[in-house]
């Protein structure tokens, strides 16, 4: 009788099938025992963000304005126009400005009054006054080239001149302490939003964890005489929330960074030691 298949060929084929079966079985065991059946996906935060409003509850203060622009100190109102800012001397411990009022030159320091307007602070090219719970800002007269730079250079004499000179020449605008809050120049915000590297040079931020959970971001250093030193943040402060939004993830922090240009006010909740504090900023 003649065989249809050679027994040797049949044996080889069988051995091949067994080999394939063993490999398939091997992978099957690996898959069942060690490998996950689903992947790890990043869940987008879809929860609505809490609306943020800055409400002043201090007595004897004007009620919340109907138009948000009315509280902004950008538009000088009333007789503030009579005051002309001639020069600024702005050091870390003292602010002195020279103004011209009714053709008379007067030197004012922080807290001094002129025509009912109280000097609150000054930036590199502007001064801030307050009157009847409203804030006003006047810009430096650009009469002579170099006037401004002279006053700025003077102000840095106690610190590191080269550092501050470079930052003030590159970046326009400043941060002014206006009592309960600080006024931050928008151009400054825009500059740092574009140059993230400059942020890391001036302020150190590290994550603050409790166990595995992120509880905020700790300030590890603040460069002296930098814009960030004027924000009121100190080494060791822990930033817990920004505009009421808890900063418990990098994504939340990134959200603030992405939208910073559209913000006109900013509120940081920080813990300093055991004390919880709120730092308020007005961006204009």
């Amino acid at each position: 009788m003649k065989h249809l298949f050679k027994p040797q060929m049949f044996k080889g084929l069988l051995a091949l099938l067994i080999l394939l079966l063993i490999i398939k079985l091997l992978w099957f065991v690996v898959e069942v025992v060690w490998l996950p059946s689903t992947g790890v996906e990043h869940a987008e935060e879809k929860g609505g963000k809490a609306l943020y409003y800055r409400v002043k509850l201090t007595p004897n203060e004007a009620p919340a304005p109907t138009k948000p622009t009315s509280t902004r100190p950008t538009k000088p109102q009333g007789s503030i126009k009579d005051i002309e800012l001639l020069a600024i001397y702005n050091a870390s411990d003292i602010t002195v400005i020279t103004v011209s009022y009714k053709n008379k030159t007067k030197v004012l320091s922080k807290g001094d009054e002129i025509n009912g307007f109280v000097l609150e602070g000054a930036g590199s090219n502007f001064a801030t006054f307050s009157k009847n719970a409203k804030t006003y800002q006047i810009s430096l007269l650009k009469s002579k080239k170099g006037d401004n730079s002279v006053s700025t250079t003077k102000s840095t004499a106690s610190g590191t001149p080269s550092e501050t000179r470079s930052s003030s020449s590159k970046v326009e605008g400043d941060i002014v302490d206006a009592g309960d809050h600080r006024l931050v120049d928008k151009s400054l915000v825009e500059h740092y939003a574009k140059n993230m590297e400059e942020i890391t040079k001036n302020i150190g931020i590290a994550e603050q964890k409790e166990g595995k959970d992120l509880k905020g971001f700790r300030v590890t250093f603040v460069r002296k005489n930098s814009h960030f030193s004027k924000l009121g943040l100190r080494r060791g402060d822990v930033i817990k929330s920004i505009n009421g939004q808890e900063i418990t993830s990098y994504n939340a922090a990134m959200d603030v960074y992405k939208n910073i240009n559209a913000m006109d006010s900013l509120s940081l909740t920080i813990t300093r030691g055991k004390e919880e504090m709120e730092l308020e900023y007005e961006i204009n």
Partner: protein, 171 residues
């Protein structure tokens, strides 16, 4: 001679079967698990399994919850003795464009058993063309820019020698 031939055929079939039957998607999920331990997550629209490869379509890469980049197509290819990761059209997130070049048209990371302690990197994009190598023993990365375009954002990280710009770091 016949015996040697048989052994080679068996080995070849075993190698081929290992690759074909490899549970590529499940192995990728395992890789995702390991990456997640380092707070790196990849969200992909679709996964396609090939005979020797696995392709991810429209993958978004998140690091510590922040979206870093979107990759149009990411292919993981292996022959066991040669492995290659190919990225097509990588677009860095808008929020990071101030820190690094935004567009990478193509990037290839490959590793061969012929030089097991070295992996090579090639890429081209808005920054120009780069060629580099990763020394797995010394744990350092060296990238040469053979052509430079928009490197302003990363210029401070680069060094220059007679061949041109290069980037070096250790990990």
């Amino acid at each position: 001679m016949q015996m040697v031939k048989k052994i080679f055929i068996t080995l070849f079939i075993a190698w081929f079967a290992l690759l074909v039957f490899m549970p590529k998607q499940a192995l990728y999920y395992k890789l995702e698990e390991e990456l997640a331990k380092n707070e790196i997550k990849i969200n992909e629209k679709a996964i396609e399994e090939g005979v020797f490869s696995l392709t991810l379509k429209q993958a978004s890469v998140y690091v510590k919850g922040i979206k870093i980049a979107t990759i149009e197509e990411l292919t993981l290819f292996t022959l066991l003795f040669y492995t290659k990761v190919e990225l097509d059209s990588l677009l860095l997130d808008d929020s990071l464009k101030a820190m690094a070049p935004q567009q990478t048209d193509k990037a290839v990371l490959s590793h061969s058993m012929l030089s097991p302690l070295e992996a090579s990197v090639n890429a081209e994009g808005s920054f120009g063309v780069i060629e580099g190598s990763i020394d797995l023993k010394e744990r350092n990365l060296h990238i040469n820019f053979s052509e430079t375009k928009e490197i302003e954002t990363i210029r401070s990280l680069l060094k220059k020698d007679e061949k041109g710009w290069y980037y070096e770091t250790s990990f």
